[in-house]
Symmetry: C2
Subunit: 165 residues, 2 copies
DNA sequence: GAAAATCCTACTGCGCAAGTATGAATTTGA
DNA sequence: TCAAATTCATACTTGCGCAGTAGGATTTTC
């Protein structure tokens, strides 16, 4: 029931880029991201490259380059991103919607484990396929604002004024 | 988001023993279990040994030995069994109730990923910590009966008459 | 042209899942 | 009492995938 580190880092990066862009910094560099989240630069590079290939982010090379979102935040759902990096959400393949594989059990139709795991899969998918990056970013910003915490990626000169209602 | 084979086999075994016991065969041998589910005998042996150590099944040695449930079926919940074999249900450790570990993210309180994964963890736990073996066995038997399928573990001489209402 | 970034590909270590293998201990029936 | 059938205990194996490293190529800006 585990999210890989690779996937976790990828999602963090996406959320950070989303937050930054909402605050008027549409592009972030890998080194900034890595510094904030305290994770290996080179590894993150690979992950962002994968996210780029899948159309979630776009990049600008060279000095003052970096990554920005390639889609509207409200079009980025978490489920597909996780499937991209970690594979199916389902605990066992015989209940996967997106990459079903029949299991070895003698009678799939009457398999109790399958029924149970189908429930679990649906519960997971219900959350991850509904939540969008926009929602998570909004909630995060609201929380930060409520607690008067200045998020990173904001130059000291900039003031943290929420755009949110 | 994956269940290990070890865990899957363990749960299958538990369910099979439950079904068999409900049908009047309180004890099953590893070889029978392995044959029905088509999985390696020695591996299953190890798993059952683990389930025994944790108090879920008990065993009888020697000829006509085998494994039977050590608890009432309605006291066996799936969550704890899965945690025993595969570890925490939570996708990331910082949202685990049973074995929390702080994550490396800079601000756990305002971490959007954490909120999302907490939702997922709760959804998973809600299902797996509520369903009991008794329920899954009952549902399975009902389905089998409705479809007039004779479950395995039943000697040809025995007739499949559901005890259920 | 130098510096600063992304891009690309290959490599590595190592831990763990998924078994195998071997034999000891126990129970039963002949 | 012995042989067969079972569980019990422990050690070993094998392969793969996660979590990175490493090194250099390419692009952009000043």
């Amino acid at each position: 029931m585990n999210l890989s580190k690779r996937c976790e880092y990828g999602l963090r990066a996406l959320i950070d880029i989303g937050i930054a862009s909402e605050l008027g910094r549409p592009r972030l560099q890998v080194s900034e991201l890595a510094a904030k989240e305290k994770l290996p630069v080179k590894f993150l590079e690979q992950i962002l490259s994968q996210l780029k290939a899948a159309g979630y982010v776009k990049s600008k090379r060279g000095k003052f380059g970096g990554y920005s979102l390639a889609k509207r935040m409200d079009r980025i759902k978490f489920g597909p991103v996780i499937r991209l990096i970690d594979g199916p959400l389902a605990p066992i393949r015989c209940v996967s919607e997106t990459s079903y594989a029949c299991c070895t059990c003698p009678d799939e139709v009457h398999c109790g484990l399958r029924m149970l795991m189908l429930d679990v899969r649906n519960a997971i998918a219900k959350i991850l396929d509904r939540y969008t990056l926009a929602e998570i970013v909004e909630i995060t910003l609201r929380k930060l604002h409520r607690d008067k915490v200045t998020p990173l990626f904001l130059q000291p000169s900039m003031r943290f004024v929420s755009i949110l209602p």
